[in-house]
Symmetry: C2
Amino acid sequence: MSRILSAPQLGFFKMLPAALQHVLLAAATPQRHMDGETIHRRGDTTSSLSVIREGAVVVSNVGMDGRELALGLLHAGDTFGEFTLFSDMPRQFDFVASGDTRIDVVDREKFDVLLDDSPALARHVISHLASRLHQVVELLDDERRLPLPVRLAKTLLAWPADLDDADKLRVTQQNLANALGVSRVALSGALRRLTEAGWLTRGYGELQLHDRSRLEAWIAANAQLVPTP
Amino acid sequence: MSRILSAPQLGFFKMLPAALQHVLLAAATPQRHMDGETIHRRGDTTSSLSVIREGAVVVSNVGMDGRELALGLLHAGDTFGEFTLFSDMPRQFDFVASGDTRIDVVDREKFDVLLDDSPALARHVISHLASRLHQVVELLDDERRLPLPVRLAKTLLAWPADLDDADKLRVTQQNLANALGVSRVALSGALRRLTEAGWLTRGYGELQLHDRSRLEAWIAANAQLVPTP
DNA sequence: CCAAGAATGTTAATTTCTTTACATTTGGGC
DNA sequence: GCCCAAATGTAAAGAAATTAACATTCTTGG
């Protein structure tokens, strides 16, 4: 999704000072993956950071019951796996190449060396982790207290937009439903309500937002008092 | 709650090497708070790490609608606020003293100095943040895919136990309901089901677990396939 | 152009949780 | 010991989501 995993404004690599970017890439090993190839599987205990150079990576979480949750799509410049570098936890998601993909991979040992040499990198890692943590805790909070249409609106505002139209979102309802952890029926209903309220127009595989800033205000107004007593 | 905020096994301060503990405390300023006094309020932008020396701190999240969520209780040796040191995000919870409480407070500037001087501290911070992040992402995942009784069982196993009996949990159903983000009625029902299944005995303000290891196995068996198809 | 797959729209039955309400049990303070 | 607040047990109505099913619309590959 994206709300969890790909937060463009928080991209680990993009936010690095150029000098550190170069240092990091110098320690990396390039890899290629064909369309549909699994790069990491949930439960893997490998530790490595990957920077996407070309192509895209689908992030998903397929339970043993076959249902897919928390889907996301990462693009060139995005990174994944950074969390495995710092703790011995297994990978939490499946990462699958979408299209032919080139990534640069930094393994744990190499990264550790860099970390020892560069306090600035350590600082960066810390603030990145802290931001992400803050974000996920907020998300968890939202999940518990906000009604679905509001959560949906928040997700839409955070969704990566089309290149030529900032308010056109290329996403299927099924993907959105996965991202929010609800059924497609529930999502469809919430989308209908937002449409009837005039916030967006539904298309085939895309959504057109009408007024981002007013929608933000609407969310803020609805994010506090749950009903209107 | 504790699933979010107080993870005893991951305590930031407790896990620090003794030498670093002393360095940290040397930089700290002691504070006293009376019972019921608010130490930090949600939305505060102050940055500081606090180590509890004596007493306890209630962590809560009171929405403007008055409902209280994600409640937790921290004890001596626990820390809070560590996340505010590393990002400019506001505090996410309310912290209120429970009983007369003494805490040692390290503000951001002092901590930054320590961080520059000690790569080991930076390492520790990074792995603490990464673990916590991993934990919260798992929690979010659980929240979406696991039925309430299973989530409840997981929460119970992670709950801090009584001092003299590792399987006696001192917690009210209301607190558990807050921790899981459900109503007390729903929680009561889930507890009844676990009781009928023989996993625990309900008491007044306490719960007695019967067999931790078998319960863990039961959770693992139920955490994958949601129904039985 | 048109067939097939993909995506959306919608309905109905069911389940789960919430809200509200009230009764009962427990334990501590006076 | 008794009273009262706190905690638990439970019931009923309603809201919201799920599952399952089916119809319709859109896109695209041949």
